[in-house]
């Protein structure tokens, strides 16, 4: 009996050791450095970047490459440049699992981690962004949401701390409608056409609906709204409706496994992939490769950034990968989401650099970094100098405009890689701006926010 108990505890101990051992190994492998060496205490004299990521759960296939790109770029700045103008970067990852409650928990844990607090937050989730927006007014830490979050948050007079740099769901859906109109021979040709929106039934998926309804009124097309519940692996009913309604185009607003499932269901119901257009979160390699040959011809928007490798990738290979410091292996390196994570990190670093001009070369508080974000000017020359040529359009923000301009391209999956269509798409801001203003003012009234007078604020 005693022997049996002994065996049992030995097996238990071995199992636990294996679990903790492999977890520790994985943490080391992904972050490149052992977890305890990261910003556990975030010493004074360093700029602290919290990293909200999801490496496990339903959305991990998309969350992992993004996080790898983000973290690798931060490491590159330390290894190649010695930090941001000599100020070393520290960072700490926190697993949100794409869940709003865990995202808020991560935010609370990391916001005061260093003497100057968190530099800024990239929630990488529209749900978490909605939850953090209210907190940002008291915590005074910028929330960066390139290509996601609240569309109306580009209005800096109301959303003082939100920065949807480079695009929102209103600009993206507008660009897609324009592109479809162009394919049909003009926006007036959309009259009587059917456009279906297959969307993730969440704040993220619902965000483009107001803009699409506005465009529907203008051009007279029929808009079919087809929600897909989280996580989006069960879409048979949705695609049966598409088969019944036979829309001329399908816009896909999915994330994670929902995207590949949509493409697979399109194959199963015989809907042509050439008529499908995904938002930029539905146009990466993990979205198409599971569908195999069936994904050929599928289109999506791309911005910040398309797939490929440029000068910055060479630097990451030299200064990060070669030293065994990379956040992940080379699988996914140079793919859409890796590049987007990297570009997001670059814009954050550039914002700190910009803010250092005003506040000095020292670790900066979130409130100071906001100034950098509101005066961000990444022009073509800067993009080239930073090694990002071909990966993004110029961005120029202000106190009023927290988006800084939006431009995107269409890329099409050819069965093995994304092929970018020439020609940059631009949203029609004459339609979007009044909507932004109305929505932001409604938000300000509801939350009793006093609007900023940007003219009076010193630049």
């Amino acid at each position: 009996m005693r022997h049996q108990v002994g065996v049992k505890y030995t097996v238990l101990a071995a199992l636990l050791a294996a679990v903790f051992g492999s977890t520790a190994l994985q943490a080391q492998d992904k972050a490149g450095v052992p977890a305890q060496k990261k910003a556990a205490s975030a010493p004074a004299g360093e700029q602290f970047f919290p990293v909200l990521s999801y490496r496990t759960g339903a959305y991990a296939p998309n969350g992992v490459p993004f996080a790898n790109g983000y973290v690798d770029y931060l490491k590159l700045v330390n290894a190649r440049d010695g930090g941001i103008n000599g100020i070393k970067i520290t960072f700490e990852e926190c697993e949100t699992g794409y869940a709003t409650d865990r995202g808020v928990e991560c935010y609370e844990r990391l916001k005061g981690k260093s003497p100057t607090g968190a530099t800024l937050f990239h929630p990488l989730s529209t749900g978490i962004t909605f939850a953090l927006t209210d907190k940002s007014f008291t915590d005074k830490i910028p929330i960066i949401t390139p290509g996601y979050g609240r569309a109306d948050s580009m209005d800096g007079t109301v959303f003082a701390w939100n920065f949807p740099l480079g695009g929102t769901y209103w600009t993206s859906s507008d660009m897609l409608v324009q592109h479809i109109g162009k394919k049909e021979g003009g926006l007036d040709k959309l009259k009587g056409k059917k456009i279906a929106l297959v969307y993730h039934d969440s704040p993220y998926g619902k965000e483009p609906i107001p803009l699409l309804q506005e465009r529907q009124k203008m051009h007279g097309f029929e808009l079919l709204l087809l929600p897909v519940t989280h996580p989006g692996v069960e879409q048979k009913a949705t695609w049966l409706q598409i088969r019944q309604q036979r829309p001329d185009y399908v816009l896909l607003w999915g994330w994670g496994v929902m995207n590949s499932t949509s493409i697979k269901e399109a194959v199963a119901t015989g809907y042509p992939r050439e008529k499908m257009y995904g938002v930029w979160w539905s146009g990466a390699e993990p979205d198409v490769t599971p569908a195999g040959e069936g994904a050929k011809g599928y289109n999506a928007l791309t911005f910040l950034a398309p797939a490929g490798q440029g000068a910055v990738h060479k630097d990451i290979l030299k200064f990060v990968h070669a030293k065994g410091e990379a956040a992940g292996n080379k699988e996914g390196f140079g793919e859409v989401l890796y590049n987007r994570g990297m570009t997001n990190a670059m814009m954050s670093v550039e914002a700190v650099k910009r803010a250092q001009i005003r506040y000095g070369k020292k670790p900066l508080k979130g409130e100071e970094v906001r100034w950098g974000l509101e005066n961000l000017a990444i022009d073509a020359a800067a993009i080239k100098r930073l090694g990002f040529e071909g990966f993004m359009a110029p961005i120029s923000t202000s106190c009023v405009d927290h988006e800084g301009g939006s431009a995107a391209q269409i890329h099409t999956w050819d069965g093995s890689k994304w092929v970018v269509e020439p020609g940059m798409l631009q949203p029609d801001m004459s339609i979007i701006k009044p909507m932004i203003r109305a929505s932001a003012e409604k938000y300000a009234a509801e939350k009793k926010i006093v609007k900023r007078d940007c003219a009076k604020e010193t630049s």
Partner: protein, 333 residues
């Protein structure tokens, strides 16, 4: 009022709801048949997972919340092993892994809890769920992995003479449904007609009585968990080939919960019929009921497929607590 009246009323209401889209002309017959078929195909796959729940509950009285996690774990194992060896070999190794897992669970989790309250055993399976979800991803990775069964993905149109535009049938769905149906049938026969199956049923009826007549309880538990593991593997491979193997599989498997509530926790037949009812019910609701509700009550909209399955199960729970084919539980006072 007859005590079965509420149950009969619910059944009649569901049948009326089922034929209403066709009777009112809201749907073309061809499309209606497509939705019905889609529901039945999904239902067979739900049955497959529900079978795992029912097997373990039948044999040990444990509600194994970890069945969904076992589906994910098995599918991840097969998908990653298939990258290094032929698929058939990966499936065989997967069966060995699931049997070992069953042995570990019996040895480390269940045996120390023999004769404890069912809630303690249930909580233990919750722990196993979280362990398997995390451990599976740690060992096998959290990307989307493919399992290629070599089935055609292209749909085919059938019965074009009978229905305008024909009926679109997906070959992959069809083969998956046949495999699932064969497995369900095989397990039903195993339980009904083999000595081990009978012993398992005896254990399910009364642990102590079964032990007293010489049935080795621990061995039976290992067997049933191993069988449930193999069922999880089959479900994982089929689901995985359809959806890709990744974390969401464990959540899809939770769809089997309303199936066992509706069909009855102890019934293999209940798992089958319940799966079909849930599959058809949720697809019909999403396609036909959802848009009507949004229009009639000016709702914000949203998919109703996910929660409708649970509503259906709750309605049955109200009028028939033991489920359609479950054993009625009577306590002597």
């Amino acid at each position: 009022m007859n005590k079965n009246t509420p149950f009969i009323a619910v059944c009649v209401a569901l049948l009326v709801g089922l034929v209403l889209p066709l009777a009112t002309g809201a749907s073309a017959p061809g499309f209606y048949v497509e939705v019905l078929l889609g529901g039945l195909m999904a239902g067979v796959l739900y049955s497959l997972v529900a079978l795992g729940f029912a097997l373990i509950f039948k044999a040990s009285g444990v509600f194994n919340f970890a069945q969904g996690a076992m589906v994910l774990f098995a599918a991840l194992a097969v998908a990653r092993l298939a990258e290094r060896m032929p698929l058939w070999a990966a499936i065989l190794v997967g069966i060995v892994i699931m049997t070992l897992l069953a042995w570990f669970i019996e040895r480390l989790v269940l045996r120390p809890l023999v004769n404890q309250d069912p809630i303690a055993l249930f909580m233990a399976t919750l722990g196993v769920t979280f362990f398997l979800d995390g451990f599976g991803q740690t060992v096998w990775g959290s990307d989307i992995y493919k399992i290629e069964l070599g089935m055609t993905k292209e749909p085919v149109l059938v019965l074009q003479n009978l229905f305008q535009g024909g009926i679109l049938v997906n070959g992959e769905d069809f083969v998956a449904a046949i495999v699932a149906a064969a497995l369900v049938g095989g397990l039903a026969l195993f339980f009904q007609y083999t000595p081990t199956g009978r012993a398992l049923r005896a254990v399910a009826d009364d642990h102590q009585a079964a032990q007293s007549i010489g049935i080795p309880l621990n061995r039976m538990w290992v067997i049933v968990w191993a069988v449930a593991g193999v069922v999880a593997l089959v479900a994982g491979v089929i689901w995985g080939s359809k959806l890709g193997v990744q974390f969401s599989l464990s959540q899809v498997a939770l769809k089997a919960l309303p199936v066992v509530i509706l069909g009855g926790f102890t019934s293999v037949t209940g798992a089958i019929v319940g799966g079909l009812i849930i599959g058809v019910g949720e697809k019909m609701a999403e396609v036909f009921l959802g848009p009507v509700l949004v229009k009639a009550f000016d709702l914000a909209g949203g998919g109703i497929e996910n929660w409708f399955a649970y509503v259906l199960a709750l309605v049955f729970l109200l009028v028939r607590p033991q489920g359609l084919f479950g054993e009625k539980h009577i306590d002597r006072v």
